[in-house]
């Protein structure tokens, strides 16, 4: 009877959560984007399927079995899975809040949400690659049974990782700096699992392939029909599930009882006074970053990415032999922060959009301030890039070309989001990207990411000696025209103001 009651409650809670996702304000407001989202997901699944088939066939005749390579590189999949899961920011502790006062045990609720994570369709995404790959590679050696066991084991790995991710996420929610912990661990393991260079040899000596070999041994036991690996996986899943129950239960009280620091130090920031009204909006931009948790995290993440990419190019030989990748990463160092901040342009301002709209051309001044602020931030990658320039790995022309192109071409593309964004971001909530990124934002991000790559590639092939010069010239034109295109963005924003303001208001408390 009790089990039946739990099952009823479980289904009831799941049904309510499913409805919540279906009726999310983001989809209610924008049906076209919802369908575009499905199309986007279908594209990725088809892409993984295609990749699985192609790679499965290509590895059929290699000196090493294809599935051994995939199995040995398991850590790479887990690291990629972590990156994809970063989009999911809600933890069970946050989900429970809505149900906390209902006559349902909190532990049961957390258990329900943890179970939902295990059974989530998110855990089968990688199977779109692994199933066709395995189907081509495995039955020949291990039969269909072996194939099914292999696929099930992979699913179990991702199910366990869904629970591990929740622990990372809870730590990240507690303090953003905790992000560095999983990132460092995964990056280290990924590097060890994939690369066999002077650095890994320095650390591991002759035993450089230890991780690959360990994973290989593990998967071979699974394919040989040993039950022990499955028992281990089952035990790990139960242990992490129980650990999560405790962690999430503790986190609930932090979520509910959290009191924000109420005293602040007010700084004049007189350096911006010389810029007049734009200066006032620059101060607003800086204060928004300093005082709003979500924006602050976004900014820190952008700067960290900017620094990591810059340092990777400057201080490691990773891209030394690939001129195109080196040039592209140089470009991306300049774009990454703007990409992260501007793709949500106007979403933070949705919280006080009525106030902005009550003042003449204040949105235009705000847009200008955002542009100038992002331009100022270019000083960071520019300084780091002086290192490879001094080392002779790169030229100052390349660095300046990328910087100008980012400022004059990529940023105007990103600013288009200011016209279309109409979902308010809660400035201090911990749920971030999952609730915010609409498909238009993803598409514009992708364009901002890949368009420079295509242009650079074309220039490097067609006019290799002048590519930096042309990039720079295109950028200078965009920068010189900034009053025009910013005014154009503003005019189009004003033309859509009723739709946008309605969206900002509806999503303000969603």
């Amino acid at each position: 009877m009790k089990a039946k009651e739990y099952w009823r409650l479980y289904r009831l809670v799941c049904k309510t959560k499913d409805l919540g996702e279906k009726r999310h304000i983001m989809f209610e407001q924008n049906k076209a984007m919802k369908w575009l989202g499905y199309l986007f997901a279908a594209f990725w699944c088809a892409y993984l399927l295609f990749f699985g088939v192609v790679l499965g066939n290509a590895m059929s005749d290699g000196p090493v079995e294809g599935f051994d390579l995939i199995d040995g590189g398991m850590i790479a999949f887990i690291a990629l899975d972590f990156l994809v899961r970063l989009m999911l920011t809600e933890t069970p502790a946050q989900e429970v809040k809505q149900f906390k006062l209902m006559p349902i045990s909190v532990k049961f609720l957390i258990g329900t949400f943890l179970t939902r994570r295990i059974l989530s369709s998110f855990n089968i995404v990688w199977l779109f690659f692994l199933v066709p790959f395995g189907l081509i590679q495995l039955p020949h050696y291990y039969g269909l049974g072996g194939f099914f066991v292999w696929v099930f084991a992979w699913w179990l790995i991702f199910a366990i990782h869904s629970q591990v991710y929740l622990i990372w996420r809870s730590l990240m929610n507690r303090n953003f700096l905790f992000t560095l912990l999983p990132v460092s661990i995964y990056a280290f393991l990924f590097y060890c699992g994939i690369f066999d260079d002077e650095y890994t040899q320095m650390i591991f000596g002759d035993n450089v392939e230890w991780l690959y070999n360990a994973c290989l041994w593990w998967w071979r036991s699974i394919l040989d029909g040993s039950v022990l690996p499955f028992i281990c996986l089952g035990v790990i899943l139960v242990l992490i599930f129980c650990l999560n129950l405790v962690i999430q239960n503790k986190a609930i009280y932090k979520e509910i009882a959290e009191v924000q620091e109420s005293k602040v130090k007010s700084r004049e920031m007189s350096v911006f006074n010389r810029f007049g009204i734009i200066g006032e909006y620059l101060k607003l931009e800086v204060r928004s970053i300093m005082r709003n948790a979500v924006i602050r995290k976004q900014f820190i993440l952008g700067v960290v990415c900017m620094l990591m990419l810059s340092c990777m190019t400057a201080f490691t030989p990773v891209y030394d032999n690939n001129l195109f990748m080196k040039a592209y990463i140089s470009m991306y160092c300049y774009c990454v922060l703007a990409n992260m901040m501007l793709v949500n342009a106007m979403c933070p301002e949705g919280n006080y959009i009525d106030g902005l709209m009550a003042r003449k051309e204040s949105v235009l001044s705000l847009l200008k301030a955002k542009y100038y602020f992002n331009l100022m931030m270019f000083i960071v990658p520019f300084c780091v890039f002086l290192v490879p320039v001094i080392q002779g790995k790169s030229t100052i022309g390349e660095s300046i070309g990328c910087m100008l192109f980012s400022a004059g071409v990529v940023m105007p593309a990103l600013f288009q989001m200011a016209v279309y964004n109409n979902m308010t971001i809660d400035l201090n909530k911990k749920l971030t990207r999952a609730g915010r990124s609409n498909k238009m934002q993803i598409i514009v991000s992708m364009v901002a990411l890949f368009l420079p790559m295509i242009i650079m590639y074309a220039l490097m092939v067609l006019v290799p000696d002048y590519s930096s010069l042309i990039l720079g010239l295109l950028g200078v034109i965009g920068i010189a025209l900034n009053p025009l295109w910013l005014r154009n963005v503003y005019n189009r924003f004003m033309a859509r103001r009723y739709v946008n303001m309605d969206g900002f208001r509806s999503s303000r408390n969603a």
């Binding site: 602040v264 007010s266 009204i277 006032e280 607003l284 204060r287 106030g355 003042r359 204040s362």
Partner: protein, 241 residues
């Protein structure tokens, strides 16, 4: 300075939320907008402030249609809800920001804030607290003061007595009256508090289901309170013993 609404119709889905044929407000008037929940008071304010687009009709603020030009913003101040506040600033920073974007010097701002000292009651300035961490009442005060410091010719306040303690409500009344006397501005106030509204207003407009049902000048209608009260009593559901 005149505010005019002509043939305004605003629908939310099928529902006609606002239906005003002709409504004109002249210099120096304090208008009290009363009505039950969902009567269309906030919708009317939002239509005036160009925050929503009416399906039909036009608004004119001193001859400017807000849907066509932004010049009206220089002569209008408003506080409708906390969506007007940049809540990650301290009140001082917020007032300073408003002043600077409105070309008001620091000295002038300090001067303009002085009359609000009693209204703020020592709980708003000098607290080193972000607006979002203030109580609802104090947030309301920040929004109202911010709407007034630019000395607009048209001041719109939606439910200004909400969240305020009794002392602050009385202070709010004098703030509005004094502002109107000093500047001769049009003040539009909506409220559920009939006593306060009728006390301070020169004209009372009753809005129900988006339509103007009564529009009384207090000079000519001495018994506005009774007529309005009678209307609401008539609307109240009768409970059976």
């Amino acid at each position: 300075m005149t505010l005019t609404l002509s043939n305004i119709k605003k629908y939310f889905g099928e529902k006609l939320a606002l239906d005003i044929e002709q409504y004109t407000v002249n210099d120096g008037e304090i208008i009290g907008l009363v009505g039950n929940n969902g009567a269309g008071k906030t919708t009317m304010f939002r239509a005036i402030l160009d925050l929503i687009k009416p399906e039909e009709g036009a608004v004119s603020i001193d001859g400017i249609n807000p849907a066509e030009s932004e010049d009206w913003k220089e002569i209008t101040g408003a506080y409708v809800d906390s969506g007007f506040l940049i809540d990650y600033l301290t009140p001082e920073e917020y007032f300073d920001f408003i002043a600077k974007v409105s070309n008001i010097s620091k000295e002038e701002l300090d001067e303009r804030l002085k009359p609000f000292a009693g209204f703020m009651n020592g709980e708003v300035l000098g607290q080193n607290t972000l607006i979002r961490n203030l109580s609802m009442g104090n947030k309301q005060k920040v929004g109202i003061i911010a709407a007034m410091i630019t000395r607009p010719k048209l001041l719109i306040l939606d439910e200004p007595f909400n969240f305020l303690d009794p002392t602050s409500q009385l202070a709010m009344k004098s703030v509005i009256e004094n502002y109107n006397k000093e500047t001769g501005a049009i003040v539009l106030v909506s409220s559920h508090n009939l006593t306060h509204t009728i006390d301070i207003c020169t004209r009372v407009t009753l809005l129900e289901h988006g339509k103007i049902l009564m529009d009384y000048d207090k000079e000519t209608h001495k018994d506005v309170m009774k007529e309005i009260e009678d209307y609401f009593v008539g609307q109240a559901p009768v409970t059976q013993e």
